[in-house]
């Protein structure tokens, strides 16, 4: 979509002016000049983010029909619905950079676009719904609080709005976890099992370690990203360990120790082989997730066509009335 733009060499004076604006912490807006590489990085990040919201509806949606009380059923539907809203909102933000939603969704469905690795893990019990809210929405908040200070205005503003809802999701998830942790022995075992399964994949959500993250340096210089993956991951761990202790749940990391000097909870080694496998499409549910999205898209084609045809008829009849 952007080949023609990349072919033109960029005016060094414009690049310098752009970088000066970034340095002055000015917000970059859709009609402002920006280097092509900046635009492409943003499209990449925003579309990955939007896809993650949409694919993320599937693992949690999996438990809507089995939620164990009416109150929980209602709040889970509302949560999954919020994620659809986030996806829509971020796709709209990406469209300000000159791409359209259909094109981005096409890239998701043909497997060329990425989305968060976390959603390729299965939800196996009701407790997963609590733990996902606590860990996954919690990790999203750590990421998005920083993204809300990103240099591209539409993305930063989207993050402020989205983050408010993620906070609500996290509180709700943690409340489910606390209820189960204080419940029957079977409920307690269920929630500990969910913690054991989701902890490491949640740490992987922050992406590769800084030493292996090819994009980070430039993204930080342009204030697209404001903190490194490892900094954010550490922040998440520091926030989460005391929350686990408060409800007497154990995080599955025998190496976890508190460093009194740095005040960091130092955690054990992440299995990057697993992460890379999941990113490459070999996670437990990669195929199922994409298959579900493709099925919804294909089976919805006749509906979208009908809506377009109807709208065209309406426009035509309005035009003939006006004539």
């Amino acid at each position: 979509m952007t080949q023609t733009r990349t072919a033109t060499p960029e005016d060094p004076a414009k690049v310098a002016a752009f970088e000066a604006r970034i340095a002055a912490v000015e917000s970059i807006e859709p009609n402002d000049w920006m280097p092509e590489k900046y635009r492409r990085q943003l499209v990449r990040m925003m579309s990955q983010h939007a896809h993650s919201e949409i694919v993320g509806m599937l693992p949690e949606g999996n438990w809507i029909t089995r939620a164990p009380s009416l109150r929980r059923k209602i709040s889970l539907i509302a949560k999954v619905q919020d994620e659809a809203g986030h996806g829509l909102y971020i796709y709209c933000g990406a469209e300000t950079l000159g791409v359209d939603r259909a094109e981005l969704i096409g890239q998701l469905l043909d497997g060329t676009a990425k989305y968060s690795s976390i959603f390729n893990y299965p939800t196996l019990s009701w407790a997963d719904i609590g733990v996902i809210g606590w860990f996954v929405d919690g990790a999203a908040i750590v990421n998005q609080t920083i993204l809300a200070k990103a240099s591209y205005g539409p993305y930063a503003r989207a993050m402020i709005r989205v983050c408010k809802e993620e906070n609500f999701h996290k509180r709700q998830g943690y409340e489910i976890v606390a209820t189960l942790a204080n419940g029957t022995p079977a409920q307690k075992a269920m929630v500990q099992d969910a913690v054991d399964r989701w902890w490491w994949p949640s740490l992987m959500m922050f992406g590769p370690s800084d030493t292996d993250s090819p994009n980070t340096a430039e993204l930080i210089r342009w204030k697209v990203k404001r903190k490194t993956n490892d900094e954010l991951r550490q922040r998440f761990v520091n926030l989460t360990v005391p929350q686990a202790m408060a409800v007497n749940l154990t995080l599955p990391d025998p190496d976890m120790t508190f460093n009194a000097e740095t005040e960091n909870w130092e955690f054990g080694a992440i299995d990057w082989d697993e992460f890379n496998q999941v990113i490459r499409g070999n996670g437990p549910c990669n195929r199922e997730r994409l298959e579900a999205r493709r099925k919804a898209h294909d089976e919805g084609a006749w509906v979208r066509e009908a809506a377009n045809a109807y709208a065209a008829k309406q426009r035509a009849s309005q035009a003939s009335e006006a004539a």
């Binding site: 029909t65 089995r66 164990p68 009416l70 659809a84 919804a296 109807y310």
Partner: protein, 270 residues
């Protein structure tokens, strides 16, 4: 049992059944319609034809489940046996459910879901409007709140009936087939029985026969504008209705899924 009286000899004469409290039955009908349809709609969440419809169908599901919660809670209170809305939703059997069969039918394609929704939404608007003037103040309050939501729902489903009916040849054919298949489930919506008669006499419920004509007019108006047609007559389905606990086989599967977690942990809090 030890030391107690001897077990009485089995009798072929049925034990006298306690007449169910008509108001409880009536509230269960209102609550179960919304619980079951809200559940069905929630099955679309994450699988809709466009993102905007995932959001819209979820909205309707949320409203219906909220209404179900209020109606079932009131049913439990009136019944006075200590059952709350969750006990009623999660610990009753298929034959204890009082929803109409229309709402329990599997979703089918988007056209089937929309046609089913439209037929129900028009019914909801007509019935809730009457119930908002019910002699039972608590019921009237729930109905008035629900009516506002139902008016939005019928606008949404009605617009889709128009779009699909007057969209493409394929969409026209699909939604026409849906109306053809669903029409025989509609007489049940207005088939008054002893419970409805008791509610009418008590000034709680509406005269269903009078409402049916209104419903019919509203449905036909949209269906005709959508260039669709309705089958000439809808022969009622023989046998008892869902209002008395007679259901399609689909409801058992729906409840098995809905109730599995709650029933696996009796007495647990969530």
């Amino acid at each position: 049992m030890t030391g107690g009286p001897a077990t009485p000899a089995p009798s072929i004469v049925p034990a006298p059944r306690q007449a169910p409290d008509a108001l409880v039955e009536y509230l269960l009908r209102l609550g179960d319609d919304r619980l079951v349809l809200g559940h069905r709609l929630s099955e679309w969440c994450g699988h809709g034809p466009i993102l905007e419809e995932d959001i819209a169908l979820s909205n309707v599901a949320l409203d219906l489940l909220g209404q179900a919660t209020m109606f079932l809670r009131l049913a439990g209170q009136v019944e006075g046996r200590g059952r709350d809305e969750d006990a009623l939703a999660y610990f009753r059997e298929v034959v204890d459910f009082r929803n109409c069969q229309l709402v329990e039918l599997p979703n089918g394609d988007f056209g089937f879901t929309i046609a089913r929704q439209f037929l129900f939404d028009v019914h909801a608007v007509v019935v809730l409007d009457a119930l908002s003037r019910s002699g039972n103040a608590e019921l009237a309050a729930i109905a008035a709140k629900s009516l506002k939501e139902a008016k939005y729902h019928v606008r949404h489903s009605g617009e889709w009936v128009l779009k699909l009916g007057d969209g493409t040849a394929e969409s026209h054919q699909r939604i026409q087939r849906a109306f053809d298949a669903l029409w025989r489930f509609t007489p049940e919506l207005f088939a008054a029985d002893v419970v409805d008669a008791a509610m009418l006499a008590a000034g709680v419920g509406p005269d269903l026969a009078a409402l049916q004509a209104v419903w019919d007019g509203l449905v036909r108006d949209v269906v005709e504008r959508a260039t669709l047609s309705l089958p000439h007559a809808a022969p009622p389905i023989a046998g008892r209705s869902g209002r008395q606990g007679s259901h399609t086989e689909a409801l058992g599967h729906l409840l098995a899924e809905m109730q599995i977690v709650a029933r696996s942990h009796p007495g647990a809090k969530w």
